[in-house]
Amino acid sequence: MDFVENKPNGSIDSDHVTISEKVAAKALDQAFIEEQKRIFKNSWVPVCHESELPEPYDFRTSSIGNENVIVCRAPDGKINALLNVCPHRGMLIERRPQGSFLEGQASGNPKRITCMFHAWQFDMRGNCVYVAREKEGYQDRFCKDDAGLRRLRCEVNFGGFVWVNMNDQPAVFLEEWAGAAFSSIQSQISSEPLEVVHYHKEVVETGYQELMSQGLSSIDNDTDATIFDYGHLVTTQGSADNQDAKKGKSFPSPNAASCTSVRIFPGFAFNLDGPTLHVSTITPLNDKQVMIEHRGLAPQADNKEARHLRSKYYNEKFGPFRLQELSEPEQNELDSVKANSWYTHYYDEWLRWMDKHPNGETRIVDLPTSRSKNGEVDEHSGLSGPHIVVVGASHAGVAFVDKVRKNGFVGRLTVFDRQVGGPMERPPLSKGFLLGGGETVESKSLLRQKKWYKNNRIKLKTQSNVETIDTKKKTVTVSSGDVINYDNLVIASGAIPRELPDTQGMGNAFTLRQPSDANAIRQAANNSDTVVIIGGGYIGLEVAASLRKKEMTVTVIEAAERILARVASKPLADRLTKLHEDNGVQVLTGVGVDSINAEAGIFESVTLTSGEKIVGDMLITGIGVFPDSTLAASAGIETQRKDGGAILVDEAMRTSEKDVFAVGDVALRRDQLLAIESVHNAQETAAVAAAAVTGSIAPTIQTPWFWSDQYDVKLQSVGVVPINDDDVYQVARPGKREGAVSFWSYRGDDLVAVEVVNDPATYMEARQCLDTKQSPDPEQISNPSFSPIDSGGARS
């Protein structure tokens, strides 16, 4: 037999040793060991794909942090991860990379994992089912029930990958760890079963951090990059994704052309590149060597032609015999700045895991596992301690509970939502959602899946309206009659769309705010040919674009002299007006509504102040919103006016009541004149409030940003364009690609806002300028070859 049970001196022959023996023999750097212990043994690691063990009793072996792991499929089809070490003498059990336990082996019975040394046997869940000479050898001193293989945290997710965490109590659940980062490709990689069709590995002479750094340096001007919590990064080449998706050219189509890379900390990359999914996973061997495993995946249902096409593409891009990247001159300074920005984020996360972060933050925290002996215990979550109640499951409300948990809050969290079905993503409601045909709200539109609330021990109460707040007793009364105590209350009740008096109770007349509104519009649009939209703001224009795609006749009426009069610059408004007109929308500006007419209670037409009558099958009013602060005002919490308006808050989002916070559209800081209604504002105010509640460091305030999709135009803006300010002017900057342009708003020499059309790279530059208070020279900004980053101008 080739294997030896013990090698007392641990020595390895110097010649003809495998890489694993070399690693085992090498005196590992203490810092490397610490890193393995703190990061890799606490992170979620994708060890293989479920297709690598397709049948019951199939297995696959791997290693994490120098610990041997075996993943096997149980008879019920469930995949389990176990430590591949016999509890008897600590010996490695299964040595093959992959195989099946269905048939018996020379030293093992069928359907059993058998240690070759003393024949202890385990089932696919790791339970010990046989100990040799159990009674004779151990009498009653030992029972096999006490000797199972150590089970590891294991989940199958994100395209069928098997994720393992060596920590029994991971700091975060897998969905929270990587769900947001995967959101951009999740639907594509999960739409049909995949299988691994390419596999190779390589050992590179570098540390894994350097490897990540090299990968990041490939970010170029055409790359749209988004940083996610926990050190993840998502990059998208160009803005082709939406277009590809529309044309049915997104993965898994063999004609897919878009390119999105999801890089999961500390070094796992999921590259959705054209028709292929390439996944690279790292296993550090020592501080200077990393093994990289490359997997290429394709749909199981591929025909021969599609498989060949993907294989060819994969080999050229990721195969071991691919050509190396083209020799290029040194990257320009801009690229380095961007790459450094992403790497700083990555390195920040590394410091947190290693407990070396300057702010003293650490990712390795234990969630509570047992009930406190003192205080109230929530039956739903099993948690005790302080209770935070959130009124309104808007973007802000959900962002708050997310942030407060991430900040380490371990008490009870309850969210009351008056809507049905769970908190929804609002931005899609005026866009792609309207194009759907069903009568129900798709679960993919949910802000968070139900499981997320369960995993984070958040009690979500839908169809529950909070009717009163008693700030003295610190209670809220819910529509069910229940009175709930709180330690902190967070009001995230959002805003209510303004309605025109004539439209109240009128059939086929709608506003758009909630999913139910969008659903009603969607149903009505399916039976209508013409629509009249009152209001040329973003909501009205996005709805107009969506309904034009349904080939409806669309008229937009705006009382101001131009569309987007309160929120965008004139050059951008002119461009969007032309866009809509080119797409067949009738845009009427500078004209008011005299009356809204109905026939038998159903909308029939709009009479304009000019006397013109616009007839339509349905009416949508999008003339703005007002804060939903009635509940707060009734409770004596200070609002803008006695009869309502926004809830006034301090810079920590605290209201006039010290235990009550307000976030999102319903809140207005006392030192600000203008409330900004956007997803960014919701998330940021939520993060500020969460920091105040938990005593954490307040997040860095970013320049406000916003985005909108209309037809094939992606609009992104950063900063707030001052309106009716004669000192503000715009400079147009052509983009590098056809149709790309940006409008840079200046007051004097100071940059105040940038609006970008179809140019994500410029948007990132503009955001960097505004976040770092840089003002590129307005005389030069119209020159596309002029780099706005670090060009010298500092904002006053």
Binding site: I19, S51, H200, K201, E202, G319, F321, Q324, L326
Partner: protein, 173 residues
């Protein structure tokens, strides 16, 4: 068939086998020198090349590289524009079997190949250059077209056993 013609046929078959063996070794020499032009001279216009492997890790046959003659010529023309590892490869080839078809127009052969890499520009060429390492092991599965007694490659499948492929040259082995 009389005994004389039988002998002639046997000699002819042995001759073809020798020519095929020689062609395989000439190919190895040309490939070792990165002399793609000489290698292509040994290949018919219908030549198709692939590098394949079986992965016990995922229990699948895989194709790592493939291309017809036109694609291979295009690849070779691109090579100077790319970063490549210039460490020379040294092929040790042994022809195991040659089977000539009954009509003498085609043949198939299986050869063992062991490829060593002689390090030149590694991570630290000061230390690494000059060292030889085992690079790849596998077999050549070749098919030939025989015209006027001259065998030319019409297909080569390089079946390698390696699935760990570290830095190295990215051209036909």
């Amino acid at each position: 068939m009389d005994s004389e013609s039988n002998d002639m046929e046997n000699n002819s078959s042995a001759d073809i086998e020798r020519k095929i063996e020689k062609t395989i070794y000439q190919a190895a020499l040309a490939l070792d020198k990165n002399n793609w032009a000489d290698w292509f001279k040994l290949c018919d216009d219908s030549f198709f090349y692939s590098i394949t492997s079986f992965s016990p890790e995922i229990s699948k046959d895989m194709t790592y590289f493939s291309g017809d003659k036109k694609e291979l010529i295009g690849l070779m023309e691109m090579l100077p524009k790319h970063n490549t590892d210039h460490s020379p490869l040294h092929r040790h080839t042994s022809v195991y079997t040659i089977d000539v078809s009954d009509d003498g127009k085609t043949a198939e052969s299986v050869s063992s190949v062991v490829i060593y890499q002689n390090m030149l520009d590694g991570i630290n060429s000061h230390l690494d250059s000059g060292e030889s390492r085992l690079f790849v092991i596998g077999k050549y599965h070749d098919k030939f077209l025989i015209n006027d007694g001259v065998p030319k490659f019409i297909n080569r499948e390089t079946k390698i056993d390696n699935r760990r492929l570290d830095k190295g040259s990215h051209w036909p082995l």
